[in-house]
């Protein structure tokens, strides 16, 4: 589809160096980008991908090195400079105004006006043209917050094109999208590259690389360790380069014998008002990892919240170890031995400004205190124990959680529930935003937990993860259980078919 012949690169970065106080973030990185290609940047968290892109977008200034656009040296001192050079960045968190319409967002700051009054018709036309470029048929007058995440993302691409962007940086664009939405986004990417736009694509998802990437550059510890043509290079080789070690098994699930029944849901529906979960019954046994698959919006997160008492079910029972506990509050769920690792750690899981120790201790303080006064020693010793046990990478338990990486933060949430003696863990996307190495560590921890007799209910949107880690899989669709599959005999196709309601 694209002419891969090397021409003059649209963008070239040479010997880029960036030093933060005491740390070399980028150590002489070379990077080039050709018109019409999708150049994937691969690397673990902290490898320097974001720093490199922030230098490109003008958020940071480099300490050394040169940037060339069409072979001519340029200096990028501010985001404004980057914009005028045709460089646009689409971040994980979208930078659109939810209260404005699609057209207003696309033309923000460039509104056509007549005598100071905005020309609405001209605005609509311009927006429609930009939307057509990305192949999107959307009403320009719709408010942005009425659109799904994927559509918003495409509006962001349209906005970049309207500003005549020639280099488009996309940082984890698919992390919040369903499989079908990803396909649509890829269509848009193919369309804009065909028109000559060059795309820098940052993702943790290996499978996407083959589908969309033209070339890949691997960063490790602030250096570029190599650039390779994409379909030809094997994943294992790339992962080896990223981590500089062999990851022999992505999903090191050790299956163990399922024990007694730990959790049973009986005809659970709710929450009242907008019932997203409809008559769900399922079981999780000790020593078992049960996967919950489905498309975004199938009601999986809602189900998890019901089990944990974050929302109240309108009907049905939650039975733990044979006892009806149907929790009305998280407190009751915790008392029944349930722990919850929410999908959005930063919003629902952690108090970012507080320390690792405080975050681990939060649900357990009642047990650790006498007359309302917390025993600092118990708190400290327990936190220390779990930090060591889970190999949480923090200098001390007093470090503020905000300073830790995504994988480490996830382990802090896990430690919290282990410290609170949870025997059933509900994990909503446990490895989202976690780098490859930490992912494997989390999988290992899940193994150890089930070995010790815990049960895990795992929601995941990554099919390989669901298939690789689960013992049994439930597939949800429209708030109902569509299928129950044995992981050993399940395949991606069967899970997908159930999720899409194509077959049973």
């Amino acid at each position: 589809m694209i002419d891969h012949a090397p021409g003059t690169p649209v963008l070239e970065m040479r010997g880029i160096r960036k030093v933060f106080p005491g740390v070399v973030a980028l150590d002489g990185v070379d990077f080039d980008l050709r018109a019409g290609e999708v150049h994937v940047l691969l690397g673990e968290n902290g490898a320097g991908k974001s720093t490199l892109m922030k230098i490109l977008s003008g958020a940071y200034t480099k300490d050394a090195g040169d940037v060339f656009i069409d072979g001519a040296p340029v200096s990028i001192g501010s985001p404004r400079d980057a914009q005028s050079l045709g460089i646009a960045t689409i971040y994980q968190e979208l930078s659109l105004v939810p209260q404005l319409t699609v057209a207003e967002n696309i033309l923000l700051g460039h509104e056509p006006s007549r005598a100071g009054v905005i020309d609405r018709a001209a605005m609509r036309d311009a927006a429609r043209r930009s939307l057509a470029e990305v192949g999107l048929d959307l009403d320009p007058d719709r408010r942005l917050d009425r659109l799904g995440i994927a559509e918003q993302q495409m509006v962001e691409v349209a906005k970049a094109l309207f500003r005549r962007a020639r280099v488009l940086v996309m940082d984890e664009p698919t992390s919040a999208l369903t499989a079908r939405e990803i396909d649509r986004l890829f269509d848009v990417i193919r369309r804009v590259t065909a028109a000559g736009v060059a795309v820098v694509y940052i993702s943790h998802r290996m499978r996407e690389l083959a589908e969309i990437g033209t070339r890949v550059t691997v960063l490790r510890d602030g250096r570029a360790v190599g650039t390779f043509p994409l379909p030809e290079t094997s994943f294992d080789a790339l992962i080896r380069l990223m981590a500089n070690r062999e990851v022999r098994d992505h999903f090191p699930r050790r299956r163990c014998k399922a024990g007694d029944e730990l959790l049973r849901l009986e005809h659970v529906s709710g929450p009242s008002g907008a019932p997203r979960v409809d008559d769900v019954s399922l079981t999780v046994c000790r020593g078992e990892i049960v996967g919950l698959a489905g498309l975004l919006g199938a009601g999986r997160t809602e189900l998890a919240r019901l089990v944990f008492g974050a929302d109240r079910p309108s009907s049905g029972r939650v039975v733990v170890s044979g006892r009806d506990v149907t929790p009305k509050t998280p407190r009751q769920a915790i008392a029944a031995g349930i722990g919850f690792l929410p999908e959005d750690r930063k919003r629902h899981g952690l108090v970012l400004m507080r320390s690792v120790g405080e975050n681990i201790g939060l649900p357990s303080l009642a047990r650790w205190s006498r007359a309302g006064v917390v025993s600092g020693r118990t708190e400290h010793e327990t936190a220390e124990r779990w930090v060591t046990e889970l190999r949480i990478k923090t200098p001390t338990v007093a470090e503020r959680v905000v300073r830790l990486s995504g994988g480490t933060q996830q382990k802090v949430v896990l430690a919290r529930w282990l410290a609170a003696d949870a025997s059933l863990l509900v994990m909503d996307e446990p490895t989202r935003g976690v780098d490859v190495g930490a992912k494997v560590e989390i999988y290992e921890l899940m193994n150890r937990l089930t070995d010790a007799g815990a049960g895990i209910l795992m929601i995941s949107s990554e099919l390989p993860e669901v298939l690789g880690m689960s013992d049994r899989i439930y597939v949800m669709r429209h708030g109902r259980i569509q299928a129950e599959l044995d992981a050993a005999s399940a395949s991606e196709e069967r899970v997908l078919q159930a999720a899409l309601g194509l077959a049973s």
């Binding site: 998280p330 190999r391 990478k393």
Partner: protein, 335 residues
């Protein structure tokens, strides 16, 4: 080449050798306080150079005594702001608690009972604030803004707009007495700070206050009864306002329904100068005490220098802005 990852994992051992979290937290708080203290010391040095009347024992006691009322109101405000809220009703609560206390004294109630009535009114009003905010989900700004007017109106109604004055020496000694030569208000203030500091740093309630301010939903999902503890935060604020009212009434020998106007702003200023972030989850009482002292020293110093009241307001406003601005810039640099 040795990889960073494997060493990083081994590096975990660091945590075992590291200081206890309490120690680190203490050091961190100490470093934060140090900054505020540096500002205060700088201010004192400056005033010492500018006027010979500043650095005397009498004046030092003077400043601390004058600071005590704002400092006490700011204790409750610190709790509220750390929990991510705001309490605009404290000034009116000072007035309401004061006139209730004074009416009780005037109707011949024994002092302990009258004090209980004053503090009770503060606690009850705080409870009302808290319940509506935590259970009714009204934004704290709105609820306490309303309460600011409600409590003021109630104070005016109770007194028919007139001040109540003339109490016996026993009651007045709360403000005029001395403990080992130190004026009673200073002793009272320090005692309240000691207790409040213990509550905030060592008790479950204190932890939850930080948790709620830092991330309410995450705290709720950790099984914490967020609504209850949020309510209690406003009760604390109501009680400290009432304590301030006791002191104010004893000091002036009068309870006025129009007392305490703009106290909320002074208290908020003391809290933010002390390094507590208005977005919640962070802060400590040591900083607040220093913040309150900074405001007191500034006012006292400007009086000593004979600066006009117009210029005083301008200077105080600028100091608040600059103090918080410096704090923000320093934090940004560190992040």
């Amino acid at each position: 080449m040795e990889t960073g990852r494997e060493t990083a994992i081994r590096d975990n051992d660091l945590s075992r050798r590291g200081p206890t979290p309490a120690a680190v937290a203490r050091r961190y708080r100490a470093s934060q306080r140090l900054k505020a203290v540096a500002g205060l010391i700088g201010l004192c040095l400056l005033l010492w150079i500018l006027t010979p009347h500043f650095l005397t024992v009498a004046n030092a006691l003077n400043v601390m005594e004058q600071t005590s009322i704002n400092a006490i109101v700011a204790v409750g405000m610190t709790f509220v702001i750390i929990s991510g809220g705001i309490d605009l009703s404290v000034g009116s609560l000072v007035a309401l608690s004061g006139v209730v206390l004074a009416s009780a004294l005037k109707s011949g109630w024994p002092i302990p009972l009258a004090l209980a009535a004053g503090l009770g009114v503060g606690a009850a009003t705080g409870l009302l604030n808290g319940v509506v905010i935590a259970f009714g989900r009204l934004p704290p700004f709105i609820m306490t803004l309303g309460m600011m007017s409600v409590a003021r109106g109630a104070a005016l109604l109770v007194t028919d707009g007139r001040p109540i004055s003339g109490f016996d020496a026993g009651f007045r000694s709360i403000a005029t007495g001395r403990v080992f030569g130190v004026p009673a208000p200073i002793v009272l203030t320090l005692a309240i700070y000691a207790v409040a500091h213990f509550v905030l740093s060592r008790t479950r309630f204190g932890r939850y206050v930080y948790g709620i301010g830092g991330n309410e939903e995450a705290t709720r999902l950790s099984g914490v009864n967020v609504r209850f503890h949020k309510t209690m935060v406003y009760v604390v604020s109501g009680v400290t306002s009432a304590i301030a009212a006791v002191l104010l009434t004893a000091r002036l020998n009068t309870a006025q329904p129009i007392a305490g106007i703009m106290y909320e702003l002074d208290a908020i200023a003391a809290v933010v100068i002390g390094g507590t972030s208005l977005s919640g989850g962070e802060g400590n009482l040591g900083g607040t005490l220093i913040g309150a002292l900074t405001m007191g020293v500034l006012r006292n110093g400007l009086n000593l220098l004979g600066v006009s009241s117009f210029l005083q307001q301008l200077v105080i406003g600028m100091v608040i802005i600059v103090a918080v601005l410096v704090d923000v810039l320093v934090k940004e640099k560190r992040a």
